[in-house]
Each structure stands twice: as structure tokens, then as C-alpha cells.
Amino acid sequence: MMQRPSDDMLVAFLDGEVDEAQFAEIAAWLDRDPSLRARLASLSEATALVREAFEPILREPVPERLFAATHSSPETNVVAFQPKPAGRILGNTPRWWITMATAASFACFMFGASISYVATTDSTKTSKTAGPNLDNFPVLHIQMLNATATEASVEIPPPETDKPLPSDVILPDLKPWGLVFVGGRRIAAEGKPAFQFTYTTDNKELGPVTLFVTNTAEPDVEPTFDNRENVNMLYWRHRGHGYYIVGGANKGWMWSLKNDIAYQLKAM
């Protein structure tokens, strides 16, 4: 018979790290020793409290600098770990309404150019530019939001291009993020058909968000973050397609969305 279980053994017992024989012996001790049971209960309570205390950290938004650190070139962005005293403000950028207001005024300015861009682009020609004008995507994003705000629904795709989506372009399911698909349409970019999918959410730090999927002959490009007139954008090119996530979400959210979208569209 083993001696009265030590704290080490009780903790291992709680963690399921004892073998069958030890388990049986500790259980027997617990049956006949109320003080040991009390000891086990207090250790167990502390364990549960610690687990619970650290659980919410998993649900915190990850700062964008950490997303950036997972992709950055170490030669150009090596930061030594230099802990600083607490108190640094690590704020998110909950500037949705400001962004939208600015973007809306920007959209008014750019609207004509955008429509012109879409209308005059000949889908049979291939652009010789390195890629589409990035300024157009925020405009088209805002345009779709305005449409969804004033119309009961947006045609998907519009009547003049009522063909099914190409087999290599699917509508990403972003419901796990709380993003609801509200409209899509076929547009043109780089002289080729492209697709716009817009999602909204009550989470104003995240949405609304628009994803553009273009066809391109340009080489692959690593994911790149950009900001055009206070509208954020994360884009990359992969195997003949360009992917552009546009919206007011901060860089951290953008990276998270990019990972999910790239996974679903096999664009990684």
C-alpha cells in the first residue's frame, strides 16, 4: 500500500498522469481520508479557476502587428524582445463610421471614374498594366453597400451576365465570422471578368467587407496590405486570380479573413 499521496501525486491524479495502479491507490486513500479529499478539492478548484481565467484571452482580437510578424521578412523586421512596462495602449481601430463617412465622400468623387472604368473596359482585351487600379475597389465596395441599403436585393449575377460562376471561383462562406453575404455581381478588371462579393455584419470593427476575385495573367503576389482613402485592402495574386479584400476592418481582421478565404478558395 502506498503512503499517503503527496501533493505531487494528487496533482498528477487530477491531470490524469498516474497509471492504473496509482489511480486505484489514490482513490482508495481518498475514500477513507476526508482531509485528503478536501485537499484534492481545493487543488481542483484552483486548477479550474486558472483554466477559466486564461480562457478569454483566446477570444481576444489578435493585434495586427502579430499577424504581420507571421509573414514579415525577418531580415527587414527583426524586433528584439524588449518588454516594456504595462500601460501601453494597444487599441484596435474601431473607426467604422469614420471610415465609412470618409469612404462615402470618396465614393462620390470617384463614382464616375469607377463606372467609366467598368463600362469602358473591354472584356476581350487583356490589360497590359501590372494589375487593376486599386482605387476602383473601394469605390465598387461602397457602391455595392449603397445598393444593398436601397434595394431589397442585388442581382447575383446581373441579368446581362447571368452565367454561373466559373468552377474555380466559389462564394466563400464567412458566416463563422458573422459576415452575411448580401450581394454579388460580375464586373471587369484588367479587361477580364471579375467577381464582387459583399458581406455585412453587426460587428462594425469587421464589416462590411467586399471580396473581389479577378482573373489575371500577372505573376503571383504575396498578400499585401494597403489603405486607400481610409478604406483598408488586403490583396494577393495566386495562380491566375487576384483576390482583394476591401473594407473598414483593421489589418488584423483582414489577415484573419484572408486566411479563411484563401483556404476556402484554395488560394494559398
Partner: protein, 176 residues
């Protein structure tokens, strides 16, 4: 390879942040630590062996950087400064009791010696087995076992004294 590597890195960020928070005790330090770990991982990605657990590899990097930091700096003094910062909070008093209680438990955990803290975080919070935790911490399994036991006993004592769950700012300061 690089894309998959980065994807794995991104996926592990929440758990790394939690582990780092347990080690350092503050959001800012924890994120600095995770950032350093990501950067080190990128520079040493050739050392990662496909088929082995990526999360364990990353936890080891976090732990190693943290230990290096402890060895290279006068952490005791720095921690005292950080504690002062934390206790001198301007947060409205007891506005959210539940949240505060959890913070108190986290604070109690950060009072443990660093090696006990690491063992507690790896096994109790993150669910690694003793063997896995031992590999991450690069110590024998028996060492993990005893560190864990001491950590749990100490934590139980702190919480029972009220220093963790019900302790006031003054209590916490007095116990230091």
C-alpha cells in the same frame, strides 16, 4: 512550405498569446514576446521538422526567449515596476466583478516563480501532457511534475488567502 508555415503560425497566435500572458503577466509584454517568437520562428523555419507538432515547437521558442530574457535582465526590479503599474490602476472600482475576479486569478498566477508559471500554463491551461510539457521546457518529466504541484499548492494558498479572488490592492501589495 512558406505559406503553410505562416498559416500554422497564424493559427497558433491565440494560444501563444495566452501562454505568453501567463509568463509575462501583461498584454504588452506578452505580445512583444509572441512577436519575437514569430520572428525567430521565421528565421529558423528550416529547423522545424515536418510531421512534428508545430504548436510544441512554437511554445518552446516562446519559452526559450522568455528564459533568455529572465537571465539577461534584472527582471525582479522590472516586475516590481510592472506590478506598481498594474495595482495603480485607474479602472473604475469593481465595475465588472466577474472580469476582475479572473484578472485576480491571472495576477495570482503571475506571482509564481517563472518555471512554475510555465509548467502551469503548459499543462493546466494549454493541456499539454507532462511529457510534452517536459519537451517544451527541456526538463525531465519529474521536474514538470514537481513544478506543477508546487505551482498548484502555491496558487491554492494565494487564492485561499484571498489574494487571488478577493484580495484588494492593499492586500496584494502587502503580500509582496
Amino acid at each position: 512550405m512558406n505559406d503553410i508555415f505562416s498559416e500554422q503560425l497564424v493559427a497558433s497566435l491565440p494560444r501563444l498569446r495566452r501562454f505568453a500572458r501567463g509568463l509575462t503577466g501583461t498584454v504588452a509584454q506578452a505580445d512583444d514576446l509572441v512577436q519575437s517568437a514569430c520572428e525567430r520562428a521565421l528565421t529558423r523555419r528550416h529547423q522545424y521538422q515536418e510531421g512534428t507538432r508545430f504548436d510544441s515547437w512554437m511554445f518552446r521558442i516562446v519559452q526559450t526567449i522568455w528564459i533568455d530574457h529572465l537571465r539577461s535582465r534584472d527582471v525582479r526590479k522590472e516586475e516590481a515596476e510592472i506590478e506598481d503599474d498594474k495595482f495603480g490602476t485607474d479602472e473604475p472600482q469593481r465595475r465588472a466583478e466577474a472580469r476582475l475576479a479572473l484578472e485576480e486569478v491571472r495576477r495570482a498566477a503571475t506571482r509564481l516563480p517563472p518555471e512554475q508559471r510555465a509548467a502551469l500554463m503548459l499543462v493546466t491551461v494549454d493541456g499539454f501532457s507532462y511529457k510534452e510539457a517536459a519537451e517544451i521546457a527541456q526538463v525531465p518529466v519529474g521536474t514538470i511534475m514537481s513544478r506543477l504541484a508546487r505551482a498548484r499548492v502555491a496558487l491554492t494558498a494565494i487564492l485561499e488567502q484571498g489574494g487571488g479572488l478577493r484580495g484588494s490592492t492593499d492586500d496584494a501589495t502587502a503580500q509582496r
